[in-house]
């Protein structure tokens, strides 16, 4: 099913879609674009290549309450909290959607599956959006991602000459286009070939990198690489493939709730054990964990590097200790570029 809508009509489409449940869009918030629920008057920005923070929190929210407790005397009541409602995520770029597939492997494919994630994933209709031109930090080509297409999207959207072309690829996608009704025109005659997009060539050579790193846990490179890290954790916060979480209680002895929230391997408390022992006590161990997880541990389990080249850590790290620098320091650089 192929449909088109004029760009200036999009706010009408947002309004129609948002009437049924949360509609996440890249929203301009002052100087940054964030993937957020749209409300009337919000300024959606489909021209931004990447939101400042990835789209992962549609599926793995920053915080998510899943139980309420009530205590009285000896009694403890534990009540599940149902969260997931049908959501539309509109304007997810190919890199972010590829990253969601990487989260799927951990949260869905690896037993036992994570029901909180599964419900959000199943109830979300994803409208992928092709990229027309990369920003200087984009390097998704390195990971075999085509910025013009987002496999896995329920609807694939392309921006073209004042039009938005929408192609439904799944039943969920068809239902979404049906829901929009007369706001959309038939687009079966429109050509959907998006132009090729070339992302930055940082001179990376990823061939064999995960295998090479297997023997390099004790490599002296780690004694140097971590030194500039401030431990701020922004890399994990903006990263679409980071998925670690914390579980905490909030409330008092009478009642309260338990929630999970994003956590970061860059923080010391992350692995701090009762009794005081901490297996990743220093920044060296934590920087090593983050990069080894992306480049060796995740690939060992799931056969692909846990990076999609979205460029967010390049943009955000205050000391430029981003994944490109790490890959280069670890030998993943093409010889010609040296």
């Amino acid at each position: 099913m192929k449909k088109v809508i004029a760009r200036e009509k999009l706010p009408e489409l947002w309004k129609s879609l948002a009437a049924k449940g949360p509609l996440f869009l890249p929203i301009q918030e002052g100087p940054v674009v964030l993937f957020q629920p749209w409300s009337e008057g919000a300024e959606a920005n489909l021209d931004a290549v990447n939101t400042a923070v990835s789209a992962k929190d549609v599926f793995l929210p920053r915080e998510e309450t899943y139980l309420q407790y009530r205590c009285s005397g000896n009694q403890l009541e534990l009540i599940p909290v149902e969260n997931a409602e049908p959501v539309i995520a509109f304007g997810v770029h190919p890199c972010d959607l590829k990253a969601v597939e990487m989260l799927d492997k951990v949260y869905l494919d690896q037993e036992p599956s994570d029901e909180l994630y599964r419900q959000r994933r199943e109830k979300t209709t994803v409208v992928g959006l092709s990229c027309r031109e990369p920003d200087p930090f984009c390097f998704c080509n390195e990971f075999g991602i085509n910025p013009a297409d987002a496999p896995g999207a329920d609807v694939m959207a392309h921006l073209k000459n004042g039009l938005v072309l929408l192609e439904a690829r799944t039943d969920k996608g068809k239902a979404l286009l049906d829901q929009a009704g007369d706001l959309l025109q038939d687009g079966s005659d429109e050509k959907f070939e998006a132009a090729e997009v070339k992302t930055a060539d940082f001179g990376l050579n990823l061939e064999g990198l995960p295998e090479n790193l297997k023997e390099r846990f004790e490599d002296p490179v780690w004694d140097e690489l971590y030194k500039s890290c401030l431990g701020c954790g922004v890399c994990t916060y903006v990263c679409p493939t980071c998925y670690c979480f914390d579980v905490e209680d909030f409330g008092h002895e009478g009642e309260g709730q338990r929630f999970r929230c994003w956590d970061s391997c860059m923080y010391g408390h992350f692995t701090d054990m009762a009794g005081g022992h901490n297996p990743r006590a220093g920044r060296k161990e934590r920087v090593r964990q983050r990069f080894m997880h992306k480049l060796q541990y995740y690939p060992e389990t799931f056969n692909e590097i846990a990076c999609v080249g979205c460029g967010r850590c390049l943009r955000s790290c205050p000391v430029n200790l981003d994944i490109v620098q790490a890959i280069k320091a670890l030998g993943g650089e093409t010889v010609e570029q040296r």
Binding site: P112, E115, R258
Partner: protein
């Protein structure tokens, strides 16, 4: 929820509490309908005390005990401290079981050497109870157990009387230093293992205790010619999910909560030593 949220605990009740040492208590816990779940020795469970939170503990009872789960818990942190403050009858949250458990198939037909230190006896005790309940499946059983002082030994009467009275079983107790009321062996656990000079032939050694004890026990076993495949230990890490997703307890691509906590020494030697 349509399907089970793996993070959702079930309600459980503390049946009774035994004070083992000045900082260790054993809690007996039942679910709403008896046993909260089935498990194997070496597996763990998450215990919840809202609003303090949730933490992971090894199950110390044997799966052959069908009345309840037992947890021997040292007061070292927030949740363990909160558990120490509870009274019998109090309800808590529980979920599990987590982890791989001890390699019972690999142990069958072998002589078994248990080496525990302090609270490290807790996970071993589950397996010791299992071995006694399936006595014909295992050879001679040796149990070396030590603590800083006589007051720090847990399950004292059980170890001294019940275990020592089991057929084809030897129990060796030791404490780190001389104490007025102690007339047993004095010395560190690893040294005692060396003195006792266990033969590696046809034997599996399982050890758990403080990291420093484990380190020297492994050296002692190496000197006694035990091969890494014959030596088994169980690790502790900070954990939040118990199912290999929250990202804390990994050694390389292996998650201690899911792929461990029990590892043979040859498995551990192949992993980053980040524990």
């Amino acid at each position: 929820m349509s399907s089970a949220n793996v993070l959702m605990p079930q309600q459980a009740t503390i049946l009774d509490i035994t004070e083992e040492t000045p900082d260790i208590k054993t809690l007996r816990v039942v679910g709403k309908e008896g046993m909260p779940f089935d498990f194997m020795p070496g597996q763990c469970a998450m215990l919840s005390v809202p609003p303090v939170g949730e933490a992971i503990f090894s199950i110390t009872s044997s799966p052959t005990c069908r009345e309840c789960l037992e947890f021997s818990i040292k007061d070292v942190g927030n949740v363990s401290g909160a558990l120490h403050g509870l009274q019998p009858g109090q309800q808590i949250g529980i979920r599990g079981p987590y982890g791989n458990g001890f390699p019972i198939e690999k142990m069958k037909g072998k002589d078994i050497l248990f080496i525990g230190g302090g609270i490290g006896l807790a996970p071993l005790r589950s397996l010791i109870g299992y071995c006694f309940a399936h006595r014909e499946e295992f050879g001679h059983i040796d149990i070396v157990y030590g603590a800083r002082s006589p007051a720090d030994l847990i399950r004292k009467s059980e170890v001294r009387e019940s275990w020592a009275a089991e057929p084809d079983t030897s129990v060796y107790l030791t404490v780190d230093a001389e104490f007025p009321d102690w007339n047993g062996h004095v010395g560190f656990v690893p040294n005692y293992v060396s003195e006792l000079a266990f033969k590696p032939e046809g034997r599996i050694a399982l050890t758990c205790g403080p990291p420093i004890m484990i380190k020297f026990v492994l050296q002692a076993l190496d000197k006694l010619q035990f091969s890494p495949e014959q030596v088994i230990t169980t690790l502790e890490m900070r954990m939040k999910c118990g199912v290999g997703k929250c990202g804390r307890c990994n050694l390389g691509s292996v998650y201690v909560c899911k792929d461990g906590p029990v590892f043979s020494l040859d498995e551990l030697n192949a992993l980053p030593s980040e524990y």
